[in-house]
Every structure is written in structure tokens, then in C-alpha cells.
Symmetry: D2
Subunit: 131 residues, 4 copies
């Protein structure tokens, strides 16, 4: 995302009660990881393998998580924490399913990697929010 | 939703390890509450009031929650719990914002009522999952 | 949707340049048909049949169409027409796929019926917009 | 998106009746433009300006368009054309609204630029599909 967009989001967050000033580089990384995970899951879901339904669920949650981070003035620290936990749980579920056939399907391998990266980025956000 | 669809979902759930057999009437009520909340939030978000951004966030989460319940074979008990918590948190945030001007805006009042109903339905689901 | 919500949407539309006053009963019917079609497609997509990917696409488009109708102040007559055409095309594609195995899968039969109902409702909206 | 994902999508398309072999670089560019436009619109919608509702509508359509391109085996040439027309129409509407206050709001200026880029990418796809 453009630096100007990031500035607009930073200003939003500064006006939020009880919200710690989050590092925008980390936040940008988390939004990017969500977007990449949504895309990997969307492609992976079309393979009609055991993981497909987990992938659909994870794609939707990653998109919702990304959008929520782009609309921080509509969030509270508590709702951010709950959303991050849910996103992590969905990525975990999808990754577990994709890893079962990662050897035979390179797309599943890549989807699992995207889920792992998204989980890591969400955990970093949680640490920052917890202060 | 049609009874046939519900049967298809029931069969999916029965095949899930560690997932308690959920009462489909309660589950249907939760999906309906999510759908109604997404719609109320979508209309409320267009009013350009203080609650608009919370409404956008809540609409997305309610849709993602509803879809996840319709795709239960891609869920685990743990991911369901985390998603329900996140949906409850988003409804709480949106309801709190809408209640601030519920007196002047009947649409906000109704949006807050939809959020409350969605929270209650999600909490009932949590209780059932905790068994 | 609640009558109050519908009133809010009616007022929005009246303020739109070049937008004919649409019958709210018809519009409500179209939003309901979109919501029902999104739900049927979401369940049908989990069956891992030939239609699954068409169902995923159709579910997303029906949700986007429903939301656009709930946010009419962000639409123009031209963008409404194009959206309705796209929604009809996606329902047609999904219905065609589901009908191929409607005999063996009652869920596909119901999904196809939902697609047909959504197409009909969108066509009625197009006729009304064309005046 | 990863090269491996692109290969998976290319194979899908080759199996589609009546679908011309699309240049994957162009298709990747269109998916990227849709993703960028969804993000710009999502941020822009939070500003509570005249364009906000158009931005919400455009964000949803760009996401739906991107996903449909990632799930091409669920598309037909006709449904692709209709979707591209709808996406172009939504970007046009959003761009027109944002341009009205592009001088006072740099975020709106950037959102309008993203809409323009998305329209251009969709038009290139249309030309390729028309052969």
C-alpha cells in the first residue's frame, strides 16, 4: 500500500482510545500477509482436495482481517485481539489440512506456507497490541 | 435455509472429529442472525455517522461467520470457538457505537438490536460447543 | 429486512440523479433472492462436485450484488445495470453446472433453483431500471 | 502471486471450452490491480466523504472480480465479460466520486488512480477475451 494510505491509517489509530501506537511497517506486513493468504487459499480451494473447504473459510477470514486493519477506527483493542485469534485459528486449520498432502500438491504446500506466514504476522500484531 | 441444505450440513458435521453434534435449529438461528446483522450493518454503514466504520467491519465478520457455519467440514471445534469470539467482539463494538446515537437514528437502533441478537446466537453456539 | 431499513434506502434512492423510483417490494425480493442464492451456493460448493468452483464465484457475486442494492447511494443507473448483468451471468453459469448433476444431488438441484430465482429477480430489477 | 499458483491457473484455463488462452502476465496484472483497488477503496471509504459508499461497493466488486479470475474453471467467456464490464462500471462510478474532491483529499486522489488502473487492466482483459 501507498505511503499516503498508511499515513491516513496512522492518523486514525492515534485517535483511538486505549489503542497503542502500532508500528506501521509491522501492520503493513500483516495486511500483506493476509492478502497473500487469501489469494493462495482461493487458488488452493479450487483443487477439490480435502483442504478445499478449510481454504474457502481461511480466504474469507483473511480478507475480513485485512479489511479490519484498514478500518482501524472501527476497532477496539479487544476486538482486534479477538479477530487476530480467529485469523490465527483459521490459518492453523487450513495449514494443517494442506500439509496432509503437501508432498503431492505444490499448490497445497504453498498455501500452507502462506497460512504460516499469516499466522506469524498476526502473532506479531498481538504482541504489539499487548504492549 | 431449506431443510435439505440443513441435512447436508448435518451429515458434514457428523463426520468431524471432536465436533459435538450441534442442534441444527440453534445453528440455523445463528446463521440467520449473522445474515440479518450483515444486512443491518451494511445499511447502517451508509449513514456516515460515527458508527459507519464499525458497521463495515461487523458486516464483513458476520458474513464470514455465516459462511464458516455453512462450511463446517472446514472447521475444527477450536477454530469455531475463536471465530464465534471474534464475531461476538465485532458485534459488541458495533453495538456500542450505534447505541451512542440510537435515540436520534432509528437505523442505528435497529443495527444495534441486530448486533445484540447476533451476539446472543453466537453465545448459544459457544455454549453448545463447550458441551 | 425491516421496514425502517427499507425506508432509509428509499430516501437514498430518491436523491439519486437519473435513478427511477424503484418499487421497494421488488427490490427487497431481489436482495432476498441474492442472499438465498449466496447461501445455497456456499453449501453446494462444499460438495466437491464439478459445480463447486462456479458456486464459489456465484456466492461472492450474489453477496456483492445484495450489498450494492443496500448501498444504492453509491450506485448509478449504469453501474446497477452492469452489476445486474454480471449477477445474472454468474447465476446462469452456476445453474448450468449444477443442473448437470441435479438428478443425483438434491443440493445441486436446490442450488440451481436458487440461481434461477436470483436471475429472475435481477431481470425484474433491470426491467424496472430501464423504465 | 507465486509462479506455481499461476501455473495451476493456466492449466485450469486450458481445459475450458471456448476460453482463449490468456496471457498470464496480463491476467496477473489484472488481479493485482483489483487487489490494489480493493485496498485503496477500503481505506478511502473510512473518510466519511461523499465517495464513501461508492468506495465500499467498488471494494466488494474488485475482490469478487479478483477471486473469479483465480477460479477460472468456474467461469465462462460470457460470464467473464459480464464481470469485467461490472467491475469497470463500479471503478468508473467510484473514480468519478473520488475525483470530485481529489484536490482536497490525497487519499481520494489515490483511490481514483487505483480505480483508473483497475479499469485499464479489466479493459485489457476484455480485449484479450474478445480475441
Amino acid at each position: 500500500m501507498d505511503a499516503m494510505m498508511m499515513n491516513a491509517m496512522t492518523e486514525d489509530m492515534m485517535s483511538m482510545e486505549g489503542m497503542p501506537a502500532l508500528d506501521m511497517t509491522m501492520m503493513q506486513a500483516c495486511m500483506d500477509a493476509c492478502a497473500a493468504c487469501e489469494q493462495a487459499c482461493t487458488v488452493c480451494s479450487t483443487q477439490m482436495m480435502d483442504c478445499s473447504v478449510s481454504c474457502m473459510n481461511c480466504a474469507d477470514m483473511c480478507n475480513t482481517m485485512m479489511r479490519a486493519m484498514m478500518r482501524m477506527q472501527g476497532m477496539t483493542p479487544a476486538s482486534m485481539m479477538a479477530m487476530l485469534d480467529a485469523c490465527i485459528a483459521m490459518c492453523q486449520t487450513c495449514m494443517d489440512m494442506c500439509m496432509m498432502h503437501a508432498d503431492e500438491s505444490p499448490v497445497c504446500k504453498m498455501c500452507a506456507d502462506s497460512c504460516r506466514a499469516c499466522m506469524d504476522a498476526c502473532m506479531a500484531m498481538k504482541d504489539a497490541l499487548a504492549g
